[in-house]
Protein backbone atom coordinates (compact mmCIF):
# COMPACT_ATOMS: atom_id res chain seq x y z
CA UNK A 1 0.00 0.00 0.00
CA UNK A 2 1.32 3.46 -0.84
CA UNK A 3 1.37 5.69 2.17
CA UNK A 4 2.13 9.37 1.92
CA UNK A 5 5.42 8.87 3.81
CA UNK A 6 6.64 6.12 1.44
CA UNK A 7 5.58 8.06 -1.65
CA UNK A 8 7.57 11.15 -0.63
CA UNK A 9 10.62 9.09 0.35
CA UNK A 10 10.69 7.17 -2.92
CA UNK A 11 10.19 10.31 -5.00
CA UNK A 12 13.11 12.01 -3.25
CA UNK A 13 15.36 9.00 -3.88
CA UNK A 14 14.28 8.76 -7.48
CA UNK A 15 14.99 12.44 -8.10
CA UNK A 16 18.44 12.13 -6.50
CA UNK A 17 19.17 9.17 -8.78
CA UNK A 18 18.12 11.08 -11.91
CA UNK A 19 20.25 14.05 -10.87
CA UNK A 20 23.40 11.91 -11.15
CA UNK A 21 24.55 12.18 -14.75
CA UNK A 22 25.26 8.95 -16.57
CA UNK A 23 28.77 10.18 -17.35
CA UNK A 24 29.68 9.79 -13.68
CA UNK A 25 29.21 6.05 -14.02
CA UNK A 26 31.18 5.65 -17.21
CA UNK A 27 34.07 3.28 -16.84
CA UNK A 28 36.73 2.36 -19.35
CA UNK A 29 35.78 -0.17 -21.96
CA UNK A 30 38.83 -2.21 -23.04
CA UNK A 31 37.40 -2.83 -26.51
CA UNK A 32 37.16 0.91 -27.07
CA UNK A 33 40.81 1.19 -26.06
CA UNK A 34 41.89 -1.52 -28.48
CA UNK A 35 40.15 0.36 -31.28
CA UNK A 36 42.06 3.48 -30.23
CA UNK A 37 45.32 1.58 -30.40
CA UNK A 38 44.52 -0.08 -33.71
CA UNK A 39 44.03 3.14 -35.65
CA UNK A 40 47.59 4.19 -34.87
CA UNK A 41 48.28 6.27 -37.94
CA UNK A 42 51.19 8.12 -36.35
CA UNK A 43 53.80 9.28 -38.83
CA UNK A 44 56.48 10.05 -36.26
CA UNK A 45 58.34 7.84 -33.78
CA UNK A 46 61.39 9.55 -32.29
CA UNK A 47 64.52 7.49 -31.84
CA UNK A 48 68.08 8.32 -30.82
CA UNK A 49 71.43 7.12 -32.13
CA UNK A 50 74.67 7.33 -30.16
CA UNK A 51 78.05 6.65 -31.78
CA UNK A 52 80.40 5.77 -28.93
CA UNK A 53 83.45 5.86 -31.23
CA UNK A 54 82.87 9.55 -31.89
CA UNK A 55 82.25 10.61 -28.28
CA UNK A 56 85.30 12.25 -26.69
CA UNK A 57 83.71 12.91 -23.30
CA UNK A 58 83.69 16.72 -23.55
CA UNK A 59 80.35 16.88 -21.72
CA UNK A 60 79.07 19.86 -23.72
CA UNK A 61 75.85 17.89 -24.22
CA UNK A 62 75.30 17.69 -20.46
CA UNK A 63 75.96 21.40 -20.03
CA UNK A 64 73.55 22.30 -22.84
CA UNK A 65 70.89 19.91 -21.52
CA UNK A 66 70.95 21.33 -18.01
CA UNK A 67 70.69 24.92 -19.23
CA UNK A 68 68.09 24.16 -21.89
CA UNK A 69 65.83 22.16 -19.60
CA UNK A 70 66.29 24.28 -16.46
CA UNK A 71 67.75 21.53 -14.32
CA UNK A 72 69.68 23.45 -11.61
CA UNK A 73 73.25 23.60 -12.88
CA UNK A 74 75.04 22.79 -9.63
CA UNK A 75 72.68 20.05 -8.48
CA UNK A 76 73.96 16.50 -8.79
CA UNK A 77 71.04 15.37 -10.98
CA UNK A 78 70.94 15.58 -14.75
CA UNK A 79 68.71 14.35 -17.57
CA UNK A 80 71.63 13.11 -19.63
CA UNK A 81 75.17 12.18 -18.65
CA UNK A 82 78.35 10.67 -20.08
CA UNK A 83 80.03 7.61 -18.58
CA UNK A 84 83.72 6.78 -18.91
CA UNK A 85 84.78 3.14 -19.11
CA UNK A 86 88.43 2.15 -18.68
CA UNK A 87 89.42 -1.51 -18.93
CA UNK A 88 92.97 -2.24 -17.83
CA UNK A 89 95.33 -5.01 -18.96
CA UNK A 90 94.73 -6.99 -15.74
CA UNK A 91 91.09 -7.40 -16.81
CA UNK A 92 89.76 -4.91 -14.26
CA UNK A 93 87.03 -2.54 -15.26
CA UNK A 94 86.65 1.04 -14.06
CA UNK A 95 83.80 3.46 -14.72
CA UNK A 96 82.90 6.94 -13.53
CA UNK A 97 80.84 9.98 -14.41
CA UNK A 98 81.90 12.91 -12.20
CA UNK A 99 78.95 15.36 -11.96
CA UNK A 100 77.44 13.46 -14.87
CA UNK A 101 80.39 14.77 -16.95
CA UNK A 102 78.89 18.25 -16.86
CA UNK A 103 82.44 19.63 -17.01
CA UNK A 104 83.82 16.82 -19.13
CA UNK A 105 86.70 14.56 -18.15
CA UNK A 106 89.79 16.60 -17.37
CA UNK A 107 91.82 14.03 -15.47
CA UNK A 108 92.97 10.46 -16.03
CA UNK A 109 91.99 9.63 -12.43
CA UNK A 110 88.80 7.60 -12.01
CA UNK A 111 86.31 9.17 -9.59
CA UNK A 112 85.39 6.58 -6.93
CA UNK A 113 83.03 9.04 -5.17
CA UNK A 114 83.37 10.32 -1.60
CA UNK A 115 86.42 12.27 -2.69
CA UNK A 116 88.47 9.19 -3.56
CA UNK A 117 90.22 8.80 -6.88
CA UNK A 118 92.01 5.92 -8.55
CA UNK A 119 94.99 6.71 -10.72
CA UNK A 120 95.41 4.56 -13.80
CA UNK A 121 98.70 4.55 -15.71
CA UNK A 122 98.32 5.20 -19.41
CA UNK A 123 100.33 2.06 -20.21
CA UNK A 124 97.86 -0.16 -18.33
CA UNK A 125 94.87 0.80 -20.43
CA UNK A 126 93.56 -1.97 -22.66
CA UNK A 127 90.55 -0.10 -23.93
CA UNK A 128 88.72 3.03 -22.85
CA UNK A 129 85.77 4.91 -24.20
CA UNK A 130 82.84 7.18 -23.35
CA UNK A 131 79.14 6.30 -23.40
CA UNK A 132 76.49 9.04 -23.33
CA UNK A 133 73.29 8.03 -21.56
CA UNK A 134 69.79 9.47 -21.74
CA UNK A 135 66.18 8.31 -21.56
CA UNK A 136 65.56 5.36 -23.88
CA UNK A 137 61.92 6.42 -24.52
CA UNK A 138 61.05 2.72 -24.33
CA UNK A 139 58.25 1.31 -26.44
CA UNK A 140 57.08 -0.49 -23.26
CA UNK A 141 58.04 2.04 -20.59
CA UNK A 142 57.98 0.41 -17.12
CA UNK A 143 58.05 3.86 -15.51
CA UNK A 144 54.69 4.66 -17.08
CA UNK A 145 53.09 1.37 -16.05
CA UNK A 146 53.83 1.94 -12.37
CA UNK A 147 52.51 5.51 -12.16
CA UNK A 148 49.43 5.32 -9.94
CA UNK A 149 47.92 8.66 -11.02
CA UNK A 150 48.54 8.95 -14.77
CA UNK A 151 51.10 11.71 -14.38
CA UNK A 152 53.58 10.11 -16.78
CA UNK A 153 52.58 8.82 -20.17
CA UNK A 154 53.73 8.13 -23.68
CA UNK A 155 52.84 10.53 -26.47
CA UNK A 156 51.72 9.24 -29.91
CA UNK A 157 55.22 9.99 -31.24
CA UNK A 158 56.82 7.77 -28.62
CA UNK A 159 58.20 10.24 -26.07
CA UNK A 160 57.54 9.66 -22.36
CA UNK A 161 56.53 12.89 -20.62
CA UNK A 162 55.85 13.83 -16.99
CA UNK A 163 52.89 16.04 -16.03
CA UNK A 164 54.32 18.24 -13.28
CA UNK A 165 50.88 19.44 -12.18
CA UNK A 166 49.66 15.88 -11.71
CA UNK A 167 52.72 14.07 -10.29
CA UNK A 168 52.32 13.29 -6.58
CA UNK A 169 56.02 12.53 -6.06
CA UNK A 170 55.62 8.90 -4.95
CA UNK A 171 58.84 7.90 -6.73
CA UNK A 172 57.59 4.57 -8.13
CA UNK A 173 58.74 5.53 -11.63
CA UNK A 174 62.22 6.40 -10.34
CA UNK A 175 62.44 2.90 -8.86
CA UNK A 176 60.83 1.33 -11.93
CA UNK A 177 63.24 2.64 -14.56
CA UNK A 178 65.94 0.02 -15.20
CA UNK A 179 68.21 2.68 -16.75
CA UNK A 180 68.18 5.08 -13.81
CA UNK A 181 67.28 8.10 -15.92
CA UNK A 182 64.60 9.44 -13.60
CA UNK A 183 65.09 11.68 -10.56
CA UNK A 184 63.25 14.28 -8.50
CA UNK A 185 63.49 17.80 -9.86
CA UNK A 186 65.17 19.88 -7.11
CA UNK A 187 62.80 22.83 -7.69
CA UNK A 188 59.45 21.26 -8.59
CA UNK A 189 59.86 18.12 -6.43
CA UNK A 190 58.20 16.03 -9.13
CA UNK A 191 59.60 13.19 -11.22
CA UNK A 192 61.92 14.47 -13.94
CA UNK A 193 63.44 12.84 -16.98
CA UNK A 194 64.88 13.39 -20.44
CA UNK A 195 62.05 13.98 -22.93
CA UNK A 196 64.18 14.31 -26.09
CA UNK A 197 63.67 18.10 -25.69
CA UNK A 198 60.02 17.68 -26.66
CA UNK A 199 59.63 21.47 -27.04
CA UNK A 200 62.41 21.49 -29.64
CA UNK A 201 61.79 18.34 -31.70
CA UNK A 202 58.11 19.23 -32.15
CA UNK A 203 59.28 22.55 -33.68
CA UNK A 204 61.60 20.82 -36.13
CA UNK A 205 64.74 21.54 -34.12
CA UNK A 206 67.33 19.08 -32.84
CA UNK A 207 67.56 18.30 -29.14
CA UNK A 208 69.91 20.57 -27.17
CA UNK A 209 72.44 17.75 -26.67
CA UNK A 210 72.48 16.81 -30.36
CA UNK A 211 73.01 20.43 -31.34
CA UNK A 212 75.75 20.96 -28.75
CA UNK A 213 77.74 17.83 -29.67
CA UNK A 214 80.69 18.95 -31.82
CA UNK A 215 81.57 15.41 -32.94
CA UNK A 216 78.22 14.11 -34.20
CA UNK A 217 78.17 11.39 -31.55
CA UNK A 218 74.50 12.05 -30.83
CA UNK A 219 71.74 12.05 -33.43
CA UNK A 220 67.95 12.08 -33.31
CA UNK A 221 65.65 10.75 -36.00
CA UNK A 222 62.21 9.46 -36.93
CA UNK A 223 62.16 5.67 -37.29
CA UNK A 224 58.88 5.81 -39.26
CA UNK A 225 60.54 7.80 -42.04
CA UNK A 226 62.54 5.38 -44.23
CA UNK A 227 64.51 8.27 -45.75
CA UNK A 228 65.80 9.53 -42.39
CA UNK A 229 69.60 9.05 -42.18
CA UNK A 230 69.30 7.83 -38.57
CA UNK A 231 66.69 5.24 -39.62
CA UNK A 232 68.99 4.05 -42.41
CA UNK A 233 71.87 3.52 -39.98
CA UNK A 234 69.68 1.66 -37.47
CA UNK A 235 68.27 -0.56 -40.21
CA UNK A 236 71.50 -1.34 -42.06
CA UNK A 237 74.34 -1.11 -39.53
CA UNK A 238 75.27 -2.96 -36.35
CA UNK A 239 73.61 -1.20 -33.45
CA UNK A 240 72.84 -2.29 -29.91
CA UNK A 241 70.49 -1.25 -27.14
CA UNK A 242 70.88 -1.26 -23.38
CA UNK A 243 69.38 -4.04 -21.22
CA UNK A 244 67.43 -5.65 -24.03
CA UNK A 245 66.53 -8.59 -21.75
CA UNK A 246 64.15 -6.40 -19.75
CA UNK A 247 61.69 -6.32 -22.65
CA UNK A 248 61.28 -2.56 -22.49
CA UNK A 249 62.17 -2.12 -26.19
CA UNK A 250 64.48 0.87 -25.69
CA UNK A 251 64.65 3.33 -28.59
CA UNK A 252 68.16 4.71 -28.03
CA UNK A 253 70.54 2.80 -30.28
CA UNK A 254 74.29 2.59 -29.75
CA UNK A 255 77.07 2.06 -32.27
CA UNK A 256 80.10 0.38 -30.70
CA UNK A 257 78.34 -0.82 -27.54
CA UNK A 258 80.62 -2.94 -25.36
CA UNK A 259 79.68 -5.74 -22.98
CA UNK A 260 80.97 -3.76 -19.99
CA UNK A 261 78.40 -1.03 -20.54
CA UNK A 262 75.37 -1.37 -18.30
Amino acid sequence: MITRRNFLKNSALGLAGIALPLAAFEFIDPRKLMALEAKDGAKVRWVFLVDTYKCVGCGLCVKACKLENEVPYDSSVTRTWVERYVITRDGKFHADTPKGARDGFTTTKIDLNEGKFEDIKNGDIEKAYFVPKLCNQCENPPCVQVCPVGATYQTPDGVVLVDRTWCIGCGYCIMGCPYGVRFFHPVYHTAEKCNFCYHRITKGMKTACVQACPFGARRIGNIKDPGDPVTKIIMTERVGVLKEEYGTKPQVFYIGLDKEVR
Binding site: E68, A128, Q145, Y153, H199, P214
Partner: protein
Amino acid sequence: MKNHVLRPLFAVIGIVALILLARMALVPKDFGVGERGYMYGWHRHGNEEDWKQFKVKYQGKEYCKDCHSDKYAGINKTPHQIIECENCHGPAGTPEGILHYDPDKSPKLVIDRSRGLCLRCHYPLPYPTSGRANIRSIDPVTHNPDGECSSCHNPHNPMEGLR
Protein backbone atom coordinates in the same frame (compact mmCIF):
# COMPACT_ATOMS: atom_id res chain seq x y z
CA MET B 1 12.31 -5.57 2.84
CA LYS B 2 12.92 -4.41 6.36
CA ASN B 3 14.10 -0.89 6.98
CA HIS B 4 17.25 -1.86 8.92
CA VAL B 5 18.49 -3.72 5.83
CA LEU B 6 17.82 -0.92 3.40
CA ARG B 7 19.23 1.95 5.44
CA PRO B 8 22.90 0.92 5.22
CA LEU B 9 22.37 0.18 1.53
CA PHE B 10 21.17 3.75 0.96
CA ALA B 11 24.11 5.05 2.93
CA VAL B 12 26.54 3.11 0.68
CA ILE B 13 24.80 4.31 -2.48
CA GLY B 14 25.02 7.86 -1.17
CA ILE B 15 28.76 7.55 -0.50
CA VAL B 16 29.42 6.11 -3.97
CA ALA B 17 27.43 8.94 -5.55
CA LEU B 18 29.43 11.49 -3.55
CA ILE B 19 32.73 9.95 -4.66
CA LEU B 20 31.65 9.97 -8.30
CA LEU B 21 30.54 13.60 -8.04
CA ALA B 22 33.84 14.56 -6.41
CA ARG B 23 35.70 12.74 -9.21
CA MET B 24 33.80 14.78 -11.80
CA ALA B 25 34.74 18.02 -10.09
CA LEU B 26 38.41 17.21 -9.40
CA VAL B 27 39.60 15.38 -12.53
CA PRO B 28 40.46 17.78 -15.39
CA LYS B 29 38.16 17.68 -18.41
CA ASP B 30 40.89 16.57 -20.81
CA PHE B 31 42.07 13.71 -18.62
CA GLY B 32 41.68 10.42 -20.43
CA VAL B 33 43.18 7.67 -22.51
CA GLY B 34 45.61 8.68 -25.23
CA GLU B 35 46.71 6.91 -28.37
CA ARG B 36 48.92 4.46 -26.51
CA GLY B 37 45.99 2.89 -24.67
CA TYR B 38 45.19 2.57 -21.00
CA MET B 39 48.55 1.23 -19.84
CA TYR B 40 50.77 3.87 -21.44
CA GLY B 41 48.48 6.65 -22.58
CA TRP B 42 46.45 7.48 -19.46
CA HIS B 43 47.08 11.21 -18.97
CA ARG B 44 45.93 14.81 -19.10
CA HIS B 45 46.04 15.71 -22.81
CA GLY B 46 46.76 19.39 -22.17
CA ASN B 47 50.15 18.47 -20.73
CA GLU B 48 51.52 17.64 -24.21
CA GLU B 49 50.81 21.24 -25.20
CA ASP B 50 52.33 22.48 -21.91
CA TRP B 51 55.63 20.81 -22.80
CA LYS B 52 55.56 22.16 -26.36
CA GLN B 53 55.30 25.68 -24.90
CA PHE B 54 58.54 25.22 -22.91
CA LYS B 55 61.04 27.94 -23.88
CA VAL B 56 63.85 27.14 -26.30
CA LYS B 57 67.19 28.53 -25.06
CA TYR B 58 69.82 27.18 -27.45
CA GLN B 59 69.13 28.76 -30.84
CA GLY B 60 71.99 27.25 -32.85
CA LYS B 61 74.75 28.66 -35.03
CA GLU B 62 72.44 29.90 -37.77
CA TYR B 63 70.82 32.30 -35.30
CA CYS B 64 74.15 34.14 -34.86
CA LYS B 65 75.02 34.21 -38.58
CA ASP B 66 73.32 37.43 -39.70
CA CYS B 67 74.79 39.86 -37.14
CA HIS B 68 78.11 38.12 -36.49
CA SER B 69 78.74 37.11 -40.09
CA ASP B 70 82.52 37.77 -39.82
CA LYS B 71 82.92 35.40 -36.87
CA TYR B 72 80.60 32.86 -38.47
CA ALA B 73 82.53 32.84 -41.74
CA GLY B 74 85.89 32.91 -39.97
CA ILE B 75 85.37 29.97 -37.64
CA ASN B 76 83.95 27.85 -40.45
CA LYS B 77 87.41 27.80 -42.04
CA THR B 78 89.00 26.28 -38.93
CA PRO B 79 88.84 22.95 -37.08
CA HIS B 80 86.69 24.69 -34.46
CA GLN B 81 83.82 24.97 -36.95
CA ILE B 82 82.26 21.88 -35.35
CA ILE B 83 81.71 23.81 -32.10
CA GLU B 84 78.44 25.67 -31.63
CA CYS B 85 78.75 29.37 -30.73
CA GLU B 86 76.54 28.85 -27.69
CA ASN B 87 78.81 26.12 -26.27
CA CYS B 88 81.23 28.86 -25.17
CA HIS B 89 79.08 32.01 -25.32
CA GLY B 90 76.10 30.55 -23.47
CA PRO B 91 72.53 30.06 -24.65
CA ALA B 92 71.01 32.94 -26.66
CA GLY B 93 67.59 32.59 -25.00
CA THR B 94 66.59 32.96 -21.37
CA PRO B 95 64.08 30.86 -19.39
CA GLU B 96 61.67 33.80 -19.73
CA GLY B 97 61.86 33.49 -23.51
CA ILE B 98 63.89 36.68 -24.14
CA LEU B 99 66.28 36.22 -27.04
CA HIS B 100 69.78 37.70 -27.40
CA TYR B 101 68.65 39.67 -30.46
CA ASP B 102 66.03 41.88 -28.85
CA PRO B 103 66.51 45.64 -29.42
CA ASP B 104 65.02 46.60 -26.01
CA LYS B 105 66.26 44.04 -23.54
CA SER B 106 68.77 41.82 -25.29
CA PRO B 107 70.45 39.86 -22.50
CA LYS B 108 74.24 39.94 -22.45
CA LEU B 109 75.78 36.54 -22.96
CA VAL B 110 78.22 35.25 -20.37
CA ILE B 111 81.30 33.89 -22.14
CA ASP B 112 83.02 30.94 -20.50
CA ARG B 113 86.75 31.75 -20.77
CA SER B 114 87.87 29.19 -18.20
CA ARG B 115 90.70 26.76 -18.92
CA GLY B 116 88.28 23.99 -17.99
CA LEU B 117 86.18 24.72 -21.05
CA CYS B 118 89.10 24.09 -23.44
CA LEU B 119 90.30 21.11 -21.41
CA ARG B 120 87.00 19.34 -22.03
CA CYS B 121 88.57 18.33 -25.33
CA HIS B 122 92.25 19.29 -25.02
CA TYR B 123 93.17 17.45 -21.83
CA PRO B 124 95.28 14.45 -22.86
CA LEU B 125 93.36 11.19 -22.44
CA PRO B 126 95.09 8.48 -24.49
CA TYR B 127 91.99 6.34 -24.89
CA PRO B 128 92.01 3.88 -27.75
CA THR B 129 88.59 3.18 -29.33
CA SER B 130 87.56 6.76 -28.64
CA GLY B 131 88.06 9.84 -30.82
CA ARG B 132 89.56 11.58 -27.78
CA ALA B 133 93.03 10.13 -28.42
CA ASN B 134 93.27 12.00 -31.74
CA ILE B 135 92.73 15.52 -30.38
CA ARG B 136 95.83 17.67 -29.82
CA SER B 137 96.24 18.23 -26.12
CA ILE B 138 98.33 19.94 -23.44
CA ASP B 139 99.11 19.12 -19.82
CA PRO B 140 97.41 21.94 -17.85
CA VAL B 141 99.86 21.56 -14.94
CA THR B 142 102.94 22.42 -17.00
CA HIS B 143 101.42 24.45 -19.87
CA ASN B 144 101.17 28.09 -18.60
CA PRO B 145 99.09 27.12 -15.55
CA ASP B 146 98.07 30.68 -14.65
CA GLY B 147 96.97 32.06 -18.01
CA GLU B 148 93.67 32.03 -19.83
CA CYS B 149 93.93 29.96 -23.00
CA SER B 150 92.46 32.78 -25.07
CA SER B 151 95.24 35.20 -24.07
CA CYS B 152 97.56 33.33 -26.46
CA HIS B 153 95.26 31.23 -28.66
CA ASN B 154 92.40 32.58 -30.73
CA PRO B 155 89.46 30.23 -30.16
CA HIS B 156 87.82 31.46 -33.38
CA ASN B 157 90.94 30.51 -35.33
CA PRO B 158 93.16 28.17 -33.32
CA MET B 159 95.54 27.55 -36.26
CA GLU B 160 96.52 31.21 -36.87
CA GLY B 161 99.43 31.12 -34.43
CA LEU B 162 99.93 32.71 -31.05
CA ARG B 163 98.71 36.20 -30.26
